[in-house]
């Protein structure tokens, strides 16, 4: 109909879209796809005689996760790595639950402060991020160690004189994990409490809801999105934690993070390390996808209700 003649000159914006997004695509390719591709490649390679790996296809590293290979090639079930996986999942779950329980009151307290105090407290919560993770986890060695603050204090009080060191135990790792990741829980929980309309809390009290009822039936359900986000932010990095098991577990009790590190380091079994990494990554992806699908279904239900 009324078509305008095309003017020569600048290309249309849409022609530039692909080019414009190129930096983003490049970064994704360089930092995500290629490294993961390399790890996947290594996981299907053969272990080199002096460490490293040779490009000879094999599924042996994956078999190794569950089985020992005898001299004659027969497979023997070996739960050693599964125990590490189980410990990792249990410790990560425990960390997530403890973080949730501790974060909620902290976040609620912060949200009740005046704006200036709120900013200060949130700043303080994020402050540890500015200090090297190694230093922070190391400091727990000083606190939990044989000559540490806790042991000395207990000895001085005459309690539990022959208590073994707290250090190099699952408890020590748990303490370290909770300490390291709790800010990642506090922040999203705080955000969801901030969004809560105070009138809803008043409405609950107005309708004869005690403090406990109000917490249980109004505040907690409405903060669930923040708590779910925090749980993922804590649980997922816990699965891959390295420093806490190395420094506080002392290599005595392993988690998947330092198991992988060990394979690339002292054990010189890169393919096995890569295979464990891929399994861990796939497990996390499946877990997150499952959660995402659940959330979408819930939304769908609510929209169609």
């Amino acid at each position: 109909m009324n078509q305008r003649p095309k003017l020569p000159g600048w290309p249309k914006l849409s022609d530039w879209n692909v080019l414009g997004l190129l930096p983003a695509h490049l970064i994704m390719l360089m930092t995500l796809i290629i490294p993961v591709g390399i790890i996947a490649l290594v996981s299907f390679s053969t272990r080199g005689p002096y460490g490293g790996f040779d490009y000879v296809f094999t599924t042996a590293p994956y078999k190794q996760i569950l089985f020992n290979e005898g001299w004659s090639g027969e497979l023997e079930f070996n739960p050693q790595y599964l125990i590490v996986v189980a410990r990792t999942v249990i410790l990560s779950l425990a960390t997530t639950i403890i973080c949730l329980a501790l974060s909620f009151p902290v976040a609620y307290f912060i949200s009740l402060q005046k704006t200036s105090a709120k900013m200060l407290l949130i700043y303080l919560v994020t402050l540890p991020f500015w200090v090297s993770m190694i230093v922070r986890v190391y400091s727990w060695i000083i606190i939990l160690g044989n000559d540490g603050v806790i042991a000395k204090a207990l000895r001085a009080l005459g309690i539990n004189e022959n208590m073994g060191s707290l250090l190099f135990t699952d408890t020590a790792m748990l303490i370290g994990l909770v300490y390291s990741y709790i800010p990642l829980m506090i922040l999203p929980v705080f955000a969801s409490i901030e969004k809560l309309d105070p009138a809803l809390v008043e409405a609950s009290h107005d309708l004869y809801g005690s403090r406990l009822t109000t917490l249980r039936r109004v505040i907690l359900p409405l903060c669930r999105p923040g708590m779910a986000a925090g749980a993922i932010l804590v649980f997922v990095p816990c699965l891959g934690a390295v420093l806490e098991p190395v420094l506080l577990g002392g290599g005595k009790t392993m988690m998947m993070g330092n198991l992988i590190q060990l394979q690339f380091g002292a054990a010189r079994n890169w393919p096995l390390g890569a295979a464990i990494s891929i399994v861990l990554m796939c497990a996390v992806m499946v877990f997150l996808l499952w959660r995402g699908v659940q959330a979408m279904r819930k939304e769908g239900r609510e929209a169609s209700a």
Partner: protein, 363 residues
């Protein structure tokens, strides 16, 4: 001032010397009044007059700085909000977004420990009362403003409160819906027989719905009375100004005779009219409502001449501004005959008012 009371004289709420200060800011100076059973009582005032603070103190969300509040004769000072038999309709409605409408309405009943069957029956009754029975399983987000308003009412009425508090519940609705909800609220109050305490800054709303109105301004009670009392017999300049439209003319008080005063006004006349709080020699104002001025003038009234400088035709009424020798008067004239035509701007007119319609108020 004679406060005409509803037939029933039982007190639902007693406010005794209640005041509220936030830090150095005195939100409410000590006030005392009673609200009677089965009454539609309105707290009316401009924003910041302390009306919402007063409501929140009855609900228990704020503690009075001084004074006492009693509910059906029992001092409720020490009770937290969840132990007071009052319910609130919040300005934002504050419906629980994660609960269905049924669950919202049942919330208060569950907390009171009503058994399930009684609870469900009450929820159904309430939904019927507000004409929302088809929406029981919806969530609040799926409702329009007017529907949320109804559910907020149903939720607050369900536990059979001794007093229902309403915090500007109509302010978030559009004009047409607001009109309809006024009638519905009034009907609901009559049907349920529950005492309503209604907070608003809209004087028209207050006049329309209330049995009695308490006009608050600058943190104190300016006047308490029936809508007609407050409109026709304002106790001071603030009330005359805040409720409806009026003309204020400077008045010089020549003599006082009880509740009447003789004053001279800038129109060059001296008249004798009902007065409140005026004193000889003090500055005072004469208030005359626009609809009480006759145009053209009538015999036997105080008359003056002027020029029309503004005319707004509003269908049923026309609002004029008349310049009477430098004094501007607003006049509201009813178009009672279809042949009534708007007077032209610039036209010279005669107008008049009865001295009995004017009020002399201490300024």
């Amino acid at each position: 001032m004679d406060m005409s009371r509803p037939a029933q004289h039982k007190k639902a709420v007693e406010i005794k010397d209640v005041s509220k200060a936030f830090g150095n800011f005195q939100a409410l100076k000590p006030v005392s009044f009673d609200i009677y059973e089965n009454e539609f009582f309105t707290l009316l005032g401009p924003s910041g007059c302390g009306k919402t603070t007063l409501l929140r103190m009855i609900a228990g969300f704020e503690q009075p700085s001084t004074g006492e509040i009693a509910l059906r004769g029992t001092n409720i000072q020490a009770l937290p909000p969840h132990k007071r038999r009052v319910n609130t309709v919040f300005q934002s409605y504050a419906l629980f977004p994660h609960m269905t409408l049924e669950q919202n309405i049942a919330f208060g009943l569950e907390n009171l420990g009503w058994p399930k069957e009684r609870r469900m029956a009450r929820v159904a009754d309430m939904l019927r009362l507000v004409h929302m029975e088809k929406f029981a399983t919806r969530k609040p987000q799926q409702l329009s403003g007017g529907q949320r308003q109804r559910i907020a009412l149903a939720r607050a009425l369900a536990p059979e409160p001794e007093v229902l508090l309403l915090d500007e519940p109509l302010s978030a609705l559009d004009l047409k819906l607001r009109q309809a909800m006024r009638d519905e609220l009034r009907t609901l109050q009559r049907q349920t027989g529950i005492t309503f305490v209604f907070v608003t800054h809209d004087q028209e709303e207050a006049l329309d719905m209330s049995d009695r109105i308490c006009v608050l301004g600058d943190g104190e009670i300016q006047q308490l009375g029936t809508p007609a009392d407050i409109y026709e017999e304002p106790s001071n300049r603030f009330v005359a100004d805040f409720i409806g439209e009026t003309n204020f003319l400077d008045a010089e008080v020549i003599s006082l005779d009880g509740d009447r005063a003789t004053v001279s006004i800038p129109l060059g006349v001296t008249l004798n009219a009902p007065q409140k709080q005026a004193a000889v020699g003090d500055r005072a104002v004469m208030s005359i409502r626009p609809e009480k001025i006759s145009l053209p003038s009538q015999d036997g009234q105080i008359a003056t001449e002027g020029t029309i400088i503004g005319a707004n035709y509003l269908g049923g009424y026309t609002h004029y501004v008349v310049d009477a020798n430098g004094t501007l008067l607003r006049v509201s004239k009813r178009n009672s005959q279809s042949r009534d035509r708007t007077l032209e701007v610039g036209q010279s007119v005669k107008l008049s008012f009865a001295a009995e319609s004017a009020r002399i108020l201490g300024a």
